[in-house]
């Protein structure tokens, strides 16, 4: 099992040893390129699997089997859909801001790629090790607001603009409880480094110490990726599809890819911060534990999506500012008190 656990690291070492000096700039560059390719593959694979899984879950909750025509149990449905999207005409609406219209989906796709690059997938398996991992993650994930606003503004369509404005209002509001709920974990670990935070959870995952922060983060995380019941940005019945109304073919597909990538990224950060990341009983390799936990969080997000109706926009704002924000500040206060008591007691009882 240890060999399987170390397999990715051994492969990395083998590739490095192909170079004369295993720590030369060329070896580093090669490894960086390989890890970025792996992250892109991860996002595409995640999207392919998750889109089908989403439709399956949607079916199961309404007592249907979901897609079941193409391949065993419909597993090739997403591939066929992706091929169809590639074959579609690329339409830019008249009067659109062409440059912004074309950049927006690329930004949307690039963001989960950048955020997933700092997540530790196993012991020593973070593609890029950053000491300010959490700050970087939050800064990057906040940019997706901009991508949605760009898409809404440049489409030259009133529904798209409304959707873009909603995206700004919603995502900036939910950014605050999201960040504050992560602060408790940072206070305990005294570090922003994601690998270090996972290493600190080898005795107890932080969901036990920070249950309130976990709930707040989960709710704010669903709101951050604009999924139901917080999907006011693309609410089909109100603003058609919000910023995505005017997009066709592969550009729309990039938005879709970005959405599922973001969902994976939020689940990955939840796993890293609260569920102990790759830590787990040694019966399975660390990275398998990691993806199992990510899968559970993603399933929970889907379950919630197909259970609850869309929240009203004033209730949405009320929930962020009147419920989640005070709760996350309360959590910071409680964590501070807890740390103080811990520091008072531990030296006296000789912990």
């Amino acid at each position: 099992m240890n060999a399987l656990n170390q397999l990715p690291l051994n492969i990395a070492a083998a590739i490095r040893s192909l170079f004369g000096d295993p720590h030369s700039i060329w070896a580093d560059l090669t490894m960086d390129i390989i890890s970025i390719i792996l992250v892109i593959v991860l996002i595409v694979l995640a999207a392919l699997i998750l889109i089908l899984l989403e439709r399956k879950v949607a079916g199961w909750t309404s007592q249907r089997p979901g897609p079941n025509r193409l391949g065993p149990h419909g597993w090739f449905q997403t591939i066929a859909d992706a091929l169809k999207l590639m074959g579609k005409e690329d339409v830019t609406p008249a009067g659109a801001d062409r440059l912004m219209f074309k950049i927006a989906p690329m930004i949307m796709f690039a963001l989960p790629m950048m955020t997933l690059a700092v997540i530790p997938y196993g012991h020593g398996m973070a593609p890029i090790r950053l000491n300010l991992g959490i700050v970087y993650y939050l800064a990057i994930s906040a940019v997706s607001t901009l991508a949605l606003l760009m898409a809404g503004w440049s489409s030259n369509n009133k529904y798209s603009l409304l959707g873009g404005m909603r995206a700004v209002a919603q995502m900036i509001s939910y950014e605050i409880p999201l960040v504050f709920s992560l602060l408790g974990v940072v206070m305990i670990t005294q570090t922003f480094n994601l690998s270090q935070i996972v290493a600190d959870q080898h005795t107890i995952p932080f969901i036990v110490l920070q249950p309130l922060a976990f709930v707040v983060y989960l709710i704010a995380g669903v709101a951050e990726v604009n999924r139901a019941p917080f999907d006011l940005v693309e609410a089909d019945q109100e603003v058609v599809a919000g910023p995505f109304t005017e997009y066709t073919g592969l550009r729309w597909g990039l938005f879709f890819l970005g959405e599922y990538g973001n969902m994976t990224a939020v689940a990955a950060l939840t796993t890293t911060m609260f569920l102990g990341g790759w830590q787990g009983p040694a019966i399975l390799p660390g990275y398998v534990w990691f993806f199992l936990k990510v899968g559970i969080i993603i399933f929970f997000q889907m379950w919630v999506r197909w259970t609850f109706p869309r929240i009203r926009i004033d209730h949405l704002m009320g929930l962020a500012w009147k419920v989640l924000l005070p709760l996350s500040i309360l959590n910071i206060f409680l964590t501070g008190v807890g740390i103080y008591i811990y520091q008072l007691i531990v030296p006296r009882i000789g912990g």
Partner: protein, 136 residues
Amino acid sequence: MFGKGLFTGLGITLKRMLGPNITEFYPEEMPNLPPRTRSSMGLDPEKCISCNMCANACPNKVITITSEKGESNKKVLKSYRMDVGRCLFCGLCTEACPTGALHVTQQFENAIYEADELKWDMIERAGKSRGRGEQA
């Protein structure tokens, strides 16, 4: 408790998710139709005595029967045609039938490409469905 409804909802969807599907895989598996479904007519030509009661009972004049006198001065069925395009599957003809020769069946795959195919030759159909081993 505030927010209790959320958990109730999650519980219901989970139960639905784990429970059985109600989808019928129609082309592969035939649906289980209610017992009194009326979607086709079937004729048993041996039982038919050519009394023309069905044609008289029909509100839309769907049925046309021709018959000829047999050896013992009995009517023998020669042709039994139904213009199904006008039929509303009310079943009055089957109620009028004194011998039970005409009956409604659950065979509902009646889609056709030409309007002429709506004129059913019931004797021919009875032979065909017997050839397929179905209940005539």
